[in-house]
Amino acid sequence: MALQQFAPIAALIILAVVLTFIISNISTIFGPSNNTSRKTAPYESGMQPIGVGMRRMPVKFYLIGVLFILFDIEVIFFLPWAVVFRDLGFYGLAVMGLFFFILTIGLIYEWKKGALEWE
């Protein structure tokens, strides 16, 4: 496997890391620093921040996370199929169709149960 193939990805990753580092630190390095306690406090749209920064999150987030994983794995199954689906023809479509159908039923269930609603 020629490693050169991945050179653009490597370049992108390096660029992303370096750029992020620069952007997030450039103002600290070059900007004037005149810290007061008000200025270092987290920005809360003008409100006084109350309590600790890390609050317990509602369990709904976890459900969203789990559902995200499941659909992510579904996407992963699509990936190798998608690169050859022209060669697989109707048969390939039918096999993937069944796979997709079963997961769609899961989605309908989820929808009807209100797991996607936030309230």
Partner: protein
């Protein structure tokens, strides 16, 4: 680039019991969304209908002895028999659940979908001839059980049960996966018949591949051993069995065992029977290990069961002990030439255990109160006076678990001990007989409580219509196998496992 297989190539007809049930799960899932909350009994009826269709279909294709879906699925009498066990367990569990879920306030339509998923998992496990299918089926079998165990969510014990089962089950799955990866590394294939084909070469050349193969088989055994609860991988069993809603415990105790042992037997019989220390040996290298584990399981399960005061816990330890007996059959498979007899014995033992244990749990549920109490052994005092019929059936189930003649349990033990003797495992057989005698102590204690102890006698208000159907069905099954064992044995008479026999 790809040969499009015709429908005939896929050979879907023989896979239909499992495939139909899997797709039917989707139907139940969707239909249940439109059934109002107070009419969930319709979901139960629908589920039962699907199970019965799968059951009938299974009878039709029982002896087809074909492979399907490119050799991934074997439809022989082995998988037919496992389907039989799984569907029987699911049908009886369905009857057990209807009223119980309602009166304990945990009735949800998803329960039935999850039950069907789990059943389909057992069926795919029994029919799988590829480690990948075994793994996915194992997960389909397990994940619904984790959820069902935690379904009584107001009760901390039930949540603990689900959590414990989930964490240890995930751990076991990881072991299984690691083992499967090592087997794949050693043989270059995940297909069980192909693994069988390459074992001989690996044993002959004594390469590093042999080490991987043995390690892989050991890890797979650990993974499946967790699922079927053999010593030393049994620690989760009592807590999980006690905390889970009782119909779930009942189903778990038979279905998870059937699935786990089906995969174990398939692996040992099809893939690894010739994994011997030297070429030409007649005893597989793994036999001694499994025999030791079986002995430890029988001893520990039976002795610890004696001191239990809660019936659900007692039946949990009893189920560990019974896993030991079935494991004895797996060990006997390791002697070349005994495999067929031992496999048959193990399967019939599982069927007998399925009927008996479901029946025993049905009676426990009849006594159980809505808040989950009333499952102490002392609660059985005087049951023969308040509910004579229930007491008779419970006594019969207890005798069957002990292995007294005319019961199903006796037939199972008779065949198993015979196979073990045939395989030359004399010491193991002696341990099996002796621990059976020990087990009589705690099984008979329930009978003594029901008949000889003073007491008001529990009114057994849980014995509702549907529960009674389940109890009668389990009783009939136990009695019929006990009196006419040939009915079950003949099912496996021309046993064909992947054409090996």
């Amino acid at each position: 680039m790809i040969d499009v297989p015709s429908i005939a190539d896929l050979n879907l007809t023989v896979t239909f019991p499992a495939v139909f049930l899997a797709l039917f799960t989707m139907v139940v899932l969707i239909v249940d969304l439109f059934i109002p909350k107070d009419r969930k009994i319709r979901t139960a009826h629908l589920t039962l209908g699907g199970l019965v269709v799968a059951f009938v279909w299974n009878v039709l294709v029982f002896d087809s002895n074909q492979t399907a879906l490119g050799g991934m699925y074997i439809a022989d009498s082995f998988s037919g028999f496992i389907n039989f066990i799984a569907l029987t367990a699911a049908i009886i569990t369905c009857f057990l659940s209807v009223d119980y879920l309602k009166r304990t306030g945990i009735e949800q339509g998803e329960f039935y979908s999850l039950l069907l998923f789990s059943t389909a998992g057992v069926m795919f496990m029994g029919a799988a001839s590829d480690l990948i299918v075994v793994f996915i089926a194992l997960e389909i079998l397990s994940i619904p059980l984790y959820v069902m165990a935690a379904m009584r969510y107001r009760d901390a014990k039930s949540e603990e049960s689900g959590l414990k089962y989930f964490i240890l089950g995930a751990f076991a799955s990881a072991f299984f996966l690691y083992g499967a990866a090592l087997v794949y590394g050693a043989t270059g294939t995940t297909s069980l018949p192909e693994i069988f084909a390459s074992v001989e070469g690996i044993v002959a050349t004594d390469s590093g591949a042999r080490l991987y193969l043995v390690l892989g088989a050991a890890l797979i055994f650990v993974g499946l051993g967790f699922k079927v609860a053999v010593v030393p991988f049994h620690m989760w069993t009592p807590d999980v069995y006690e905390g889970a809603p009782t119909p779930v415990t009942a189903f778990m105790s038979v279905a998870a065992k059937a699935g786990g042992f089906a995969a174990l037997l398939r692996l040992m019989v099809i893939a690894l029977p010739e994994l011997t220390a030297n070429i030409g040996d007649t005893i597989a290298i793994w036999q001694t290990t499994i025999a030791i584990v079986a002995a430890a399981t029988m001893i520990l399960g039976n002795f610890v069961a004696i001191v239990q005061t809660n019936v659900k816990r007692m039946l949990a330890y009893s189920s560990i002990a019974h896993a030991g007996y079935i494991l004895m059959g797996v060990a006997a498979v390791g002697t070349i030439g005994v495999a067929e007899e031992a496999t048959r014995a193990a399967l019939i033992y599982m069927l007998a255990y399925t009927f008996t244990n479901l029946g025993a749990f049905a009676v426990v549920m009849a006594l159980e109160k809505d808040d989950g109490s009333g499952t102490q052994i002392a609660d059985f005092k005087g049951l023969s006076r308040s509910r004579p019929l229930l007491a008779v059936m419970m006594a019969f189930f207890m005798l069957s678990l002990t292995g007294v003649p005319t019961t199903a349990g006796f037939i199972g033990k008779f065949l198993l001990f015979g196979a073990a003797l045939e395989a030359g495992l004399v010491l193991l057989t002696i341990i099996g007989v002796l621990t059976s005698v020990v087990s009589a102590y705690y099984y008979v204690r329930i009978i003594v409580n029901m008949y000889l102890e003073d007491g008001e006698g529990d009114p057994a208000e849980g014995a509702t219509q549907y529960l009674n159907y389940a109890t009668y069905a389990a009783f009939a099954g136990t009695l019929i196998i006990g009196l006419f064992p040939f009915l079950a044995v003949n099912l496996l008479d021309t046993m064909m496992i992947a054409g090996l026999f």
